[in-house]
């Protein structure tokens, strides 16, 4: 995959319809995936950024910051950006066009809210400002008035971040998913789990 560079990726992606009114075929999806993955690895090595297909550059900066705030790196695994969540989201927006308006509109809503509160975009806001907005949107308790649209967007974005993160090798290792393999003898619930459940 060494020879596949960013230019090759752009060529593939620009061949897809700009309005993205059609989902990708399986073959196109696979090709885009491999190229995006290669480009991401190249980008990590060389510092050249992935160029999104759906998101504008400004939107993409928000997506990167927001997804990493939702699932950050910690002592056990990397964060959303390390796991390629922004690239996954970009792919999904092209693959599932029905999601596009809500995503674009939600990101715009977020910027408007930050403008209103801090006179800055989400990207331009300080860490403390971002946390103030996110705490309001992410709460499982009482919602402040006027935030229902932001909450709906945030929940959907959070769920998509989770899919993008936990469905990776990194996510599987973190969760301890140990299946998808040949089991010669199925033995049911293991003793240590039985003990924990008091069975």
């Amino acid at each position: 995959m060494e020879h596949i560079n960013r230019r090759a990726l752009l060529k593939i992606l620009s061949a897809a319809p700009v309005a993205a009114s059609f989902a990708l075929t399986d073959a196109e999806a696979q090709q885009a995936h491999h190229l995006a993955e290669a480009a991401r690895q190249t980008a990590t090595r060389t510092g050249v950024a992935y160029t999104p297909k759906f998101f504008t550059p400004a939107e993409y900066r928000t997506v990167r910051i927001l997804s990493d705030l939702i699932i950050p790196a910690d002592e056990r695994s990397g964060g959303a950006v390390d796991a390629g969540v922004p690239e996954f989201m970009d792919f999904t927006m092209v693959d599932q066009p029905a999601r596009q308006v809500a995503m674009r509109g939600g990101l715009a809503w977020l910027d408007l809210e930050c403008q209103r509160r801090f006179d800055k975009t989400f990207v331009g806001a300080t860490d403390a400002d971002r946390h103030a907005v996110l705490s309001d949107l992410a709460t499982s308790g009482e919602l402040k008035p006027g935030l229902t649209h932001g909450q709906a967007f945030f929940r959907s974005f959070r769920d998509l971040t989770a899919t993008g993160f936990w469905t990776t090798k990194m996510g599987f290792a973190d969760l301890g998913y140990m299946g998808n393999t040949v089991v010669v003898k199925w033995d049911g619930c293991p003793p240590e789990a039985l003990k924990k459940l008091g069975l």
């Binding site: 999806a29 885009a32 769920d159 599987f172 140990m178 998808n180 049911g188 619930c189 789990a193």
Partner: protein
């Protein structure tokens, strides 16, 4: 347009390659018949085309659905409730969602392998309580065929001696998963029968097929044929006789008849060329799925049969039913922070609850069974979706609140809540009624010009009261497990959450069998009353829709019908 007519005269033309068509092909070719099979979709071979062992991250979609694979991109079944170029319609105020799978093996590539034979009462409901109708055959007539299907296909289960859930020829069942042990404990407390499930998955090698390796991915098609699908179990022996010709991408339009009213073959569209073809056969077996077979009969209009073939009584399309269904998810604190281990198991539940109640003491006349789910499955698209419901449920159970709903504490929530939810799906019996039927839409055709079905569907209080009982039972089970439901109980206005007709994908009854030609389409051998050389071998002939999933009875009935055809041929009667 020129019609391409085949010169070969086959003994039998079978329309469809699923459970019914596959079984008919096996039995009839082995009996020496020259058989042609029409399949509306592509060929499909699980050995080479299954997505078994793919990781979610092997695909950029992470397993999300596509238009072609509506149950996720790794699912074996091509098809869904909508197909490009193949519309159907609903009558005013009605909703019936029609699922079709277009591929070799049809919907045997899409199902839970839940293989429940019907019980003695299921064949004589009207005699027992006056509702619905009796079948023209009994459990005793069917038992030998069920036993032979068990031995041929393979099924695991446990001998229980339950009166209306008869035991079969079982392979040993797999041990329950951790959460299934908790479910059984709760069911025992509530006096709900909970036993080993009965799935057509091999826990021991059988008839040259390998035993299951417990990857939990039956829905993707098994590359080593350890579960049942028609292309894994029925098509290969039929092909081995060298008497089976499969014509794929062949969309059957009508059964043709001669002036005497005898079927002469089937007209179909070659989907690759768009041209109309005709195949000649002495006998026609329709196994295209209940509503597709009924559609073909209704579209087979001739001078002899102006209302459609087999429809002199006007009964083709009547008595459409689907299984009733709804599900409830529960959050179970005891399952939090589970011990990491491989919990995949077979592709489906290891325990289930057959109907345990006494309807004489309840406000609904028919039962349901419960299919539990849960566990530490492979994360894929939609993983722990609506995480706020998990967080809310945990808070309601007094689990220490996590944090602001994002960041490090949220990440920890995913970790501790993974595998801590269980689900209960109810699958119940619907009684056939006069308001639920299909007919041919007078103005809409599909892209090949074939008139399409129009559905009418209505649940009665029988089903709605049953749904209420399901909701209450599942919530009681969740409470007994020390958990909390993750949704409010739906109101009566919303039918207590009952899925719309067709959503459980058990359409049946539209070409029902019976002894009286004025009230049924087929006789007790699934032979059209009006036309001796036309048979139906899918779930169309069923007279009732027991809560038990229909595939096992399709297989057993198709075996019985096909052996009848073979005998009649031998005797020179058809």
């Amino acid at each position: 347009m020129q019609i391409i007519r085949s010169r070969t005269l086959y003994d039998v033309c079978i329309v469809g390659s699923g459970a019914g068509g596959g079984m008919a092909a096996k039995v009839l070719t082995e009996a020496g018949a020259n058989v042609v099979m029409l399949e509306a979709g592509p060929m499909w071979n699980p050995s080479s085309e299954s997505y078994m062992f793919k990781w979610a991250y092997d695909s950029p979609r992470r397993g999300a659905a596509t238009e072609k694979q509506q149950f996720g991109e790794f699912d074996a079944a091509f098809g869904g409730w909508t197909l490009e170029g193949e519309p159907y319609t609903n009558g005013t105020g009605s909703q019936f969602d029609w699922f079709r799978s277009r591929m070799l093996g049809g919907r045997t590539n899409h199902w839970g392998r839940i293989s429940l034979r019907f019980g003695p009462d299921d064949f004589r409901r009207k005699s027992l309580d006056g509702l619905g109708d009796d079948w023209p055959i009994t459990y005793e007539d069917m038992k030998p065929f069920y036993d032979r299907v068990d031995a041929l296909v393979g099924i695991f289960g446990s001998k229980e001696g339950l009166p209306n859930d008869p035991d079969g020829v079982f392979l040993p069942p797999p041990k329950p998963r951790c959460y299934e042990l908790l479910i059984k404990q709760a069911a025992d407390k509530l006096k709900i029968t909970c036993i080993a499930s009965r799935l057509s998955i091999l826990t021991q090698p059988l008839n040259g097929r390998m035993a299951c390796h417990y990857c939990g991915q039956c829905g993707r098609g098994c590359a080593q044929h350890s579960n049942f699908s028609s292309p894994s179990v029925l098509i290969p022996p039929a092909m081995a006789t060298k008497k089976l010709t499969i014509v794929n991408d062949a969309m059957a339009r009508e059964v043709t008849v001669d002036e005497s009213g005898r079927a002469t073959g089937v007209a179909y569209i070659d989907k690759n060329t768009g041209r109309e073809n005709h195949v000649q056969a002495r006998i026609v077996v329709l196994a295209a799925s209940a509503c597709e077979s009924a559609r073909i009969l209704l579209n087979s209009k001739s001078n002899k049969f102006p209302q459609g073939l087999g429809n002199s009584s006007g009964n083709v399309g009547r008595y459409l039913t689907d299984t009733t269904g709804l599900n409830v998810q529960g959050f179970i604190p005891k399952l939090m922070n589970g011990v990491p281990h491989n919990e995949d198991g077979v592709g489906g539940m290891h325990v289930f609850m057959p109907w345990w109640g006494d309807n004489r003491k309840l406000d609904f006349p028919r039962g349901y069974h419960i299919e539990p789910g849960g566990g530490r499955g492979m994360p894929s698209f939609g993983f722990m979706g609506n995480v706020h419901n998990h967080v809310r449920a945990a808070a309601a159970m007094g689990v220490t609140p996590s944090g602001p709903g994002y960041g490090k504490t949220l990440k920890d929530d995913y970790r501790r809540f993974y595998g801590a939810t269980v689900g209960f799906s109810g699958r119940g019996e619907m009684i056939p009624n006069k308001d639920s039927y299909m007919e041919i839409d007078p103005s809409v055709v599909d892209k090949w010009g074939i008139p399409v079905p129009r559905f009418h569907f209505k649940f009665y209080d029988y089903e709605i009261n049953q749904a209420k009982h399901m909701q209450e039972t599942f919530r009681a089970l969740i409470a007994e497990m020390g958990g909390t439901p993750m949704s409010e109980m739906p109101t009566r206005e919303r039918n207590y959450g009952l899925a719309p007709g067709g959503r459980i994908i058990h359409e049946l009854g539209v070409t029902r069998m019976g002894n009286d030609p004025s009230t049924s389409v087929l006789n007790k051998n699934c032979q059209a009353h009006d036309c001796r050389n036309v048979f139906v071998a899918d779930a169309g002939p069923f007279v009732s829709q027991p809560d038990k999933n229909c595939t096992w009875t399709i297989l057993a009935l198709a075996m019985r019908t096909s052996e009848f055809i073979a005998e009649e041929r031998k005797a020179g009667r058809i």
